[in-house]
Subunit: 328 residues, 2 copies
DNA sequence: TAAATTTGTGGAATCGATTCCACATTGGTT
DNA sequence: AACCAATGTGGAATCGATTCCACAAATTTA
């Protein structure tokens, strides 16, 4: 394998001169520069990343920690991240936790050891232990999807998205509205979306019975189970259901169909997240679109700005848009 | 940052001795070993990967090239890959081509420069240029999803999966069967699935009219368009449709619903790929499950065996299972 | 008992780049 | 003309690990 030593010999200069040419740093005569560039081109020489990063302490790698790659939000974010990062010669080192919170912390340590230049954490929670570890790490880090104090983040306006969606139901005449959420340790999806729902209901003088509120996890089956529980135990039946994710909504729809409950005539329903498949449900599901790919791109810009000590916005809140379909 | 020099000083040995302890190589007295281990534990010292890989020429990183991360097949494969690789201390460097074939070749070069220990290519084609580049690379490489000569691969039995699915339609009494495929440059999904369909039809003495065959790409919209084209132009209407992916099938279903064509009464339909959402379609979609996560794990085992020069199976063909639902 | 082998250890070389220092030459300023 | 600054270059040191060589001591074998 060709090294800088070979290039120096072929170009009749020293390794320092070759390095100066490659890095465009320090004085180099035009003559020498041309000879080096010619040799580099002819040989296809590319410097060793290991040797460079041992000396410069930079790896041109960004570590990305995510709970799963198999759902739309993380996969879209990663697509956006990759698109922006590769423009600047950076690569993604993937760290998939499989929804295991302990692994988030393990991976932070591992990525530090791997000397990644920055870390993107697609977060499902912001608990104290995790936040403490992030502070100790001393590596540029962006959290996507959760608000975190003293840390760069790209978030979605979960609160207002859920409020607006809830208001839409109310404007359509619904007063008895069920809610399918997730655990509130997920502050974005679990806490703020629920708060948005409850606040909008309260602002309209509408009560929410305990029997109308259920929790799922981030999959379709638990949405179905949640809908079943709500309808099995509620004396006063709700006429609408808001779910905090499309998957939960789709699961709920599945249950409704099984029970012969018509959407939206007997039960209006909506989710959040603009799953690709939502438009193909029957009826097509009303949802909120979050522009996850753009969130990834913004997160990439943020981390790159931090690495290069350029000015940048430490808190980015992504917009959203309601997609009104036939399920309401 | 702590280095091996510091550890050596604290443990009162040389750097060679510390290295012998860390790598369990060569003679070390029990006394010295204990002192080194104690110091390593107390300080939390972890060796620099850059320095190690400069010397050993190993990075413990596997490059993964994929067309998109946003569909089930690649995302499940990556999940399986990551699960197996992390057991052995390897990480994934992600290289997303966004369906741009030229980028596959660019990324092969980039991963070589990055000195990854192995490459997994989740391939959409096996054209000559790509195969040539792979041979030139001289890095352990596994292709997942396409058969490739002289290269390690994990494939699916596309031919027999499509034949069996087609046979199932025929056993249900269908004789006029439409086909929605993709471009045949994708030999696995495009060529072999089509061949499986045509061969099974021929084996049963059934003809396939040109008007019944259409091509899409790997998305839902093109499935809808393909179904529309078939039904718009076919004089003799098919009573069943096989699509080579679930997404194409779901798109076709969408069109059928719009036209008031009942599934499966007026048109039976199936796909391949066991998309999560297929079970939630109305009616639930018949499909073929390919165990993509396991394919990822097998691919990881294969590449790791190759890296470690252990004996292994160069060609792995994954099994499949029909999932019969209400769309047939 | 002497020779051969094993055990244990430290230090230099090495991996392949970058960076800094020292030196020489050329050009500009006082 | 002398001094200072700019230009250009090569080589050593450095980054932080691994590996090999040389040496010494202890143990085993003939």
């Amino acid at each position: 394998m060709i090294t800088i030593k070979d290039i120096a010999e072929l170009a009749n200069v020293s390794r320092s001169t070759v390095s100066r040419v490659l890095n465009d740093s320090g004085y180099v005569s035009e003559d020498a520069r041309k000879r080096v560039e010619k040799v580099v081109k002819e040989t296809g020489y590319v410097p060793s990343e290991q040797a460079k990063s041992l000396r410069t302490k930079k790896t041109k790698v960004i570590g990305v920690i995510l709970p799963t790659i198999q759902t739309e939000t993380p996969s879209r974010i990663v697509t956006g991240l990759g698109r922006e990062l590769s423009k600047h010669g950076y690569q993604i080192l993937l760290a998939n936790t499989d929804h295991d919170k302990e692994k988030e912390i393990e991976y932070l340590d591992l990525l530090k050891v791997r000397q990644v230049d920055g870390i993107i954490l697609i977060a499902t929670n912001t608990d104290a232990k995790l936040m403490k570890k992030i502070k100790e790490l001393n590596i540029p880090l962006t959290v996507i999807g959760q608000e975190a104090e003293e840390v760069m983040c790209v978030t979605y306006d979960d609160y207002h998205a859920q409020r607006d969606l809830t208001r839409f139901f109310i404007q359509k005449g619904h007063e008895k509205i069920a809610f399918i959420g997730v655990d509130e340790s997920d502050r974005a999806v679990g806490h703020f979306r629920k708060k948005g729902f409850l606040d909008e209901m309260a602002a309209n003088g509408l009560s929410v019975e305990k029997a109308w509120v259920e929790k799922g996890i981030f999959d379709i089956d638990s949405g179905r189970e949640a809908m079943e529980k709500i309808l099995s135990r509620a004396v006063k039946k709700p006429t609408a259901t808001v779910a905090v994710t499309d998957r939960l909504a789709i699961g709920a729809m599945s249950y409704l169909k099984k029970q012969g409950i018509k959407i939206p005539q007997d039960m209006a329903i909506a989710g959040i997240g603009a799953s690709e498949i939502s438009q193909y449900m029957n009826p097509p599901l009303t949802t909120v679109d979050y522009q996850n790919e753009k969130a990834g791109e913004e997160g990439a810009k943020q981390i790159l700005a931090s690495i290069e000590s350029s000015p940048f916005q430490k808190k980015i809140i992504m917009g959203y848009r309601l997609i009104i379909r036939e399920s309401i």
